[in-house]
């Protein structure tokens, strides 16, 4: 028997850590989705297709829009919100959150330029002509951006990958939370973000050829995500006592049903099976698997954030 009594009952830490609530998984999901969209938008610009659906030329604008929504949730999570500017008065090299703050800031101009050059020329010209103020400046910026289209595309890919990995590393560096303390979480969240982005594109009115390409890509990404998820669990399950206890939260513990139902079956297995059947029978990739991928991606963040806070380094009794 080992009975413990503590007189401490501080909010956020007792009886177990619960510092982060809905705002954080919402932000992590939107951050991952934005990261995936940036990588896909960059790759798409590098391929420079002659003809694209109107939806695909306008979708890069969703990067700054969704990022703003995500950052709003991140800001709402802060206890001392009016001190948020402090993130940008320093750079703390050991803090993933500090890296993330600066990455987010760099994402904005790059994503806006990429979104601008992705639009059809006629649309850009119409906007420049109709701009009530600053039309000349807009025109000069456009010339500047068009001359650097490939550089901007590569920046979009690199920043997108950094953003996607950071959302996982943010949790992964917390040694005190064994469920999170894994280097796999970064690539896992990036793969999930890429898959969510592909699914997000499939929800829009794009051409059949684009739909087939993105559907195939999504299928591959789901398989990679599934592999990383399995490796994460294997690493936890084969670790020390604290890691094994953390894995137990998803393998027999309180988060097991939600994890296997929402993340594995609904978010990975069902859409990949549906997309495989679609590909095998030459069908147009539909929207239902895409919706399931997005819901699964959100459930993954939600469950990892909540379950991770329940995990802790196990103490050996001091009395032995």
């Amino acid at each position: 028997m080992n009975e413990i009594t503590s007189t401490r009952s501080n909010p956020f830490v007792d009886p177990s850590v619960h510092v982060w609530h809905a705002e954080v998984p919402i932000y992590l999901f939107l951050g991952g989705l934005v990261a995936g969209l940036m990588v896909l938008a960059g790759l798409w610009r590098l391929r420079a297709p002659r003809e694209s659906s109107r939806a695909l030329t306008l979708l890069p604008w969703m990067v700054p829009v969704l990022l703003t929504v995500g950052m709003l949730f991140l800001w709402l999570d802060l206890e001392n919100r009016w001190n948020a500017y402090r993130f940008y008065l320093t750079m703390q090299p050991t803090s993933p959150m500090s890296w993330g703050s600066w990455i987010l800031l760099a994402v904005y101009p790059v994503s806006v330029f990429v979104a601008w050059v992705s639009m059809p020329e006629a649309t850009r010209t119409a906007i420049v002509e109709r701009a009530p103020l600053g039309g000349a400046l807009l025109s000069r910026l456009e010339t500047w951006a068009l001359a650097r289209e490939r550089t901007l595309a590569w920046m979009s890919i690199v920043l997108g990958a950094a953003l996607g990995v950071y959302t996982g590393v943010l949790l992964g560096t917390m040694a005190a939370r064994p469920l999170w303390n894994s280097a796999i979480l970064g690539p896992l969240f990036l793969a999930s973000g890429l898959s969510s982005a592909a699914a997000f594109l499939l929800l829009h009115r794009i051409t059949d050829a684009e739909r087939t390409t993105i559907g195939r890509l999504d299928m591959g990404l789901i398989l990679v995500e599934g592999l990383l998820l399995a490796l994460w669990l294997v690493a936890l399950r084969s670790g020390g006592a604290s890691s094994r206890a953390a894995a137990g939260l998803l393998l027999g513990g309180p988060f097991t049903a939600a994890f296997w139902t929402l993340v594995v079956v609904m978010g990975l297995a069902t859409p990949v099976l549906a997309e495989w059947i679609e590909a095998r029978h030459g069908l147009r990739p539909g929207r239902v698997p895409a919706v399931l991928v997005l819901l699964g991606g959100f459930a993954l963040r939600w469950i990892v954030v909540y379950a991770g806070q329940e995990s802790a380094i196990l103490a050996q009794t001091a009395l032995r």
């Binding site: 206890e79 001392n80 001190n83």
Partner: protein, 182 residues
Amino acid sequence: MKGPSYGMVLDTRTCVGCSACVIACKTENDVPDGVTRNWIFTEVSGTYPDLSMSIRSERCNHCENAPCVAVCPTGASYYGAGGTVKVDADKCTGCKACIAACPYGARFVDPRTDTVDKCTFCLHRLENGTPTTACQEICPTQSIYFGDLNDPESDVSRLLASRASYTLLPDAGTRPKHFFLR
């Protein structure tokens, strides 16, 4: 010559868990209701009738390798005088990364300022010439010792040299500077 490295030693054989240290800390540091910088931890182990009990007065461990300092995105958590771990409330955004990163649950959000707070080893007293912490001064069984771990003549160094001791969660790799005498 090395500078001071402040640490704390608690004698688990004499601590009776009276909570006087908790009250003294609240008074000295104006800690608001509902939160606490230190607390009493009681652990009973064994199988009846062979039971043993350990009582500990616990607080921030002022780790040498503090994860709260490493994860802080604004530099609000930092190493202060004598290697103590401090919080600069002016820089704190209340992101709570430090609370999640601390394996000891030593931090909380002050509901009055919405910034993170924790034990300071009463450094303000030391700066004013009082070499004891409030919890140490009030302790009726003299179980709490505070001092310079780099000074071989300090109480804390002598106790650690003469008695067996342990730190909490050594596997966490945080190198705590709060020691417990067996």
